[in-house]
């Protein structure tokens, strides 16, 4: 197991180098110029040349890459052109919000999606099943931004304590505060704010999980060993949850992992609608402003986190199914 993890981590090295080169080339070769965007309306060609020199964009591109990569190796992702702050600080300040939103969305989606899927599978071809599948179909069909706007118009506008936008306290700190000092105020404040964005993102995911759980469980429940379990007189509850669901969850975990990773960088639209200060918006704004250091550093960080999440998912297979061993 330990060896396996080391091997997987070593495999990361060429992946990260590859990503860094691709991202660097894309941002530098695509049309658009950070200095032009920064200068605004009043600049002269002399200003342009002066700033190119100050920011080092007058150097050959391979030299720029090597300098950037050399700094990145030492943990220095450079300084934002537009904001003047170190890129690592900027990303670090945004990651908690992004992870929190992704986490709450996943928890919501799993807490609703798995039971609904199980219910649909064991009550197959009954109104319960049809209802679950309609909910799931609606969930995948509604675009996230639309769900967001509906939630704002019909929920937030009418329920006084649900805010329209922004982020409250950190729910992780809040949870810690709750269990250490029994003070739930920060958790409450955090949840109030994260609720609607998490529902907007989580809806589609919940729908996918419901459908996947249902089909996966149905397939497992048709297997021979389930028949054996029933034949030896186990209660239906033990058959479904201990023997069935545990095996049926493997594909669900894979999808949850991939979705969680994708949310880290891909929740931009929801982040924009709810003015959620996440990393996705930081990077998209940086792309629009051609703030190269943030784009390069941000994409690199996202890629790193995504691969680490995938590794965690792979390791969790062994927990769900003891027959899977890594060595």
């Amino acid at each position: 197991m330990f060896k396996y993890i080391i091997r997987r981590l070593l495999q990361l090295v060429p992946v990260i180098i590859g990503i860094s080169i691709v991202v660097f080339m894309i941002v530098h070769l695509a049309p658009g110029d950070p200095i032009l965007m920064m200068l605004g309306e009043d600049a002269t060609p002399e200003d342009y040349a002066r700033l190119q020199r100050i920011y080092g964009f007058d150097r050959p591109i391979h030299e720029q890459y090597l300098r950037w990569a050399g700094n990145a190796l030492q943990g220095n992702l450079g300084v934002s052109i537009r904001q003047g702050a170190p890129v690592s600080t900027l990303i670090y300040s945004r990651l908690p919000a992004t992870i929190e939103l992704a986490f709450v969305s996943v928890v919501l989606a799993v807490l609703l999606g798995v039971p609904l899927g199980v219910l649909a599978a064991i009550k197959r071809q009954t109104p319960v099943d049809f209802f679950s599948m309609i909910v799931a179909l609606l969930g995948v069909s509604m675009p996230g931004f639309w769900v967001a706007l509906m939630l704002l118009t019909y929920v937030a506008l009418n329920v006084g304590w649900i805010p329209m936008f922004g982020r409250g306290g950190s729910i992780f700190n809040g949870f810690w505060q709750l269990i250490t000092t029994f003070d739930g105020s920060e958790l409450y404040d955090g949840l109030r704010y994260v609720m609607l964005p998490a529902i907007s993102i989580g809806t589609a995911m919940m729908a996918i999980i419901t459908r996947l759980t249902r089909s996966s469980l149905l397939e497992i429940l048709g297997r021979d060993y389930i028949r054996t379990a029933r034949a030896k007189g186990l209660t239906e509850r033990v058959v479904v949850f201990k023997h069935g669901l545990r095996n049926a969850l493997l594909p669900v975990v894979t999808v949850v992992g991939i979705q969680f990773g994708a949310m880290l960088g891909g929740a931009v639209i929801t982040e924009t609608v709810f003015a959620w200060p996440g990393a996705g918006r930081l990077i998209v704004n940086a792309i629009q402003q051609r703030d190269f250091p943030i784009v390069q550093g941000g994409v690199l960080m996202m890629a790193l986190i995504f691969t680490l999440v995938n590794l965690t998912v792979d390791l969790s297979y062994a927990v769900l199914n003891p027959r899977i061993r890594y060595d």
Binding site: G32, M38, D47, M164, V273, L282
Partner: protein, 504 residues
């Protein structure tokens, strides 16, 4: 396990059930919801309007524009140009304190402008101040700017550069943790979320009425509007959804203030390429711009039809110019005179992803087809679009806009002088160059200045390097419980007097 879960659920239910907090903004705090986040708070480094909206609350310039676009004293109480126009003298306000308690003096003024002019510093707006030669301090409250070239409109540029404290200006984090002389002190900033400011009780203009001001960046216009209607923000600014305006104006619980702005949008013609080198063809296309329809239907009545490069808010504006208003028959005649009517004329029009501009491009495509011109529209992402217009000559027609046109020099020299840095149409006219150079040396309040720029506008409009589309309008929306705010034609200055705003 089940019991633990039960307890957790109970706790959560209790916590939520007890929640009686309502999200409306607190009575101590004025909450501004704006469409875009600031890039930074160092006046020497920023170029975008959202940054200056916030900077102008924390920091102050020597002079500023009031809501009538008149220059009024701020950190300078008086100013005067020498008779030869080569020295600009400022008498500074005494008893002004920086937020850290240090006194404001001429040293700070000299420091700020010398920093901006230093070629080794990264000030993007250096060109605006390039005519300043030497800055001489006579005493703590008297400072002379000796100019290398006469520049009558330099004051307008100085009005756009708040003064930075010499004793903090070199600090690395000044851009995200600034010190100023303005009515509110910077407290903290969580980018893309909230910026908190606190009243500066030693402000020279008197103690601010409310202890706190909060800027919230809410990029999505519909969320911003809902948050405003729910009372979470007190004032709404930026990126109005035009379709919503009629409804808001009818609502007695909402105040909508509008004023003509300082910008306009236009069609630019590349005067170097084929048929557009002919002034008749440019005039013809200008005549097929259905300006009224664009203002009414695309902008929902926000703004007015464009006439000339100077916005109607400025005294130099003249509509005594060659008539290039919407007229399909006149356009056909012009094309016939140019000898291209009935020929297969195809032109490439470029625009960025701005939805209003895309709709304008579609209207233009339709109208141009009526006189036999095929317009192919290409929509590009802003950064790529900007590079195309600024770095290449690879376009026929483009849609762009100018904002913050605070004087005729700013509105015309860069765009239409043969050597102007933003002359994307490659237009050149000897008489116009002469007028624009002369205008810079004249007293802006003189009749001669008005006459010169009237003639310059006539030359530009008649030769049609631009087809003017519409003038902008500034819109500010707030609740009736807010008193003492007025919409500003130059939106960067909107909140400069927010210490006088009362929230009931």
């Amino acid at each position: 396990m089940d019991r633990k879960l039960g307890i957790l659920t109970l706790v959560l239910v209790l916590v939520f059930g007890l929640g009686s907090i309502v999200t409306a903004s607190s009575p101590d705090t004025i909450v501004v919801g704006s469409g875009a986040e600031a890039v930074g708070l160092d006046p020497r480094l920023e170029t975008d309007v959202p940054s200056f909206e916030r900077i102008n609350v924390i920091s102050e310039s020597l002079v500023t524009f009031d809501t009538q676009m008149e220059l009024v004293p701020r950190l300078a109480t008086e100013w005067d140009f020498s008779d030869d126009g080569m020295t600009l003298t400022f008498w500074l306000r005494e008893g002004v304190l920086w937020h850290d308690g240090e006194p404001f003096t001429a040293e700070d003024v000299k420091y700020t402008f010398e920093w901006v002019l230093d070629p080794d510093k990264a000030a993007p707006n250096r060109a605006l101040y390039a005519d300043i030669g030497e800055i001489e301090i006579e005493n703590d409250y008297l400072v002379h700017f000796h100019l290398d070239n006469p520049n009558s409109f330099l004051l307008n540029n100085i009005a756009r550069m708040p003064v930075v404290p010499a004793h903090h200006g070199e600090r690395d984090d000044f851009r995200t943790n600034p010190i100023g002389t303005g009515p509110y002190k910077f407290v903290n900033w969580s980018r893309d979320d909230v910026m908190n400011l606190e009243a500066f009780n030693d402000y020279w203009g008197g103690e601010p009425i409310h202890p706190y001001v909060q800027f919230r960046a809410i990029p999505e216009a519909s969320t911003r509007l809902l948050a405003f209607e729910a009372g979470e923000v007190d004032m709404y600014q930026g990126g109005m959804v035009p379709q919503e305006l009629p409804r808001l104006e009818d609502d007695p619980n909402i105040i909508v203030e509008r004023t003509p702005g300082t910008g306009y949008s236009y069609l630019g013609f590349n005067t170097k390429v084929g048929p557009l080198a002919d002034v008749k063809v440019r005039q013809a296309i200008s005549r097929v711009i259905n300006r009224e329809a664009i203002v009414d239907r695309v902008m929902n009545g926000i703004g007015t039809p464009g006439v000339s490069p100077i916005p109607p808010t400025l005294p130099w504006f003249s509509d005594d110019v060659y008539d290039l208003g919407y007229d399909i028959d006149a356009a056909r005649e012009l094309l016939e005179e140019a000898g291209v009517l009935g020929e297969d004329l195809t032109l490439r029009l470029f625009t960025n992803e701005n939805p209003d501009r895309i709709r304008i491009a579609e209207i233009l495509q339709f109208e141009a087809a009526r006189v036999g011109i095929t317009v192919n529209v290409t929509i590009e992402e802003w950064g790529a679009y900007l590079s195309r217009i600024q770095d290449t000559e690879d376009y026929d027609i483009f849609i762009l806009g100018w904002g913050g046109q605070l004087d005729p020099d700013r509105a015309m020299y860069r765009q239409f002088h043969t050597d102007g840095p933003n002359n994307y149409t490659f237009f050149s006219d000897a008489r116009l160059d002469e007028l624009l150079e002369r205008g810079r040396t004249l007293d802006p309040t003189s009749q001669e200045s008005i006459e010169i720029y009237t003639e310059a506008q006539q030359i530009v409009v008649e030769n049609a390097p631009y087809g003017f589309i519409n003038y902008t309008e500034e819109v500010l929306i707030f609740h009736p419980h807010i008193e003492g705010i007025t919409v500003h034609p130059y939106s960067a200055n909107t909140w400069q007097d927010i210490h006088l705003v009362r929230k009931n």
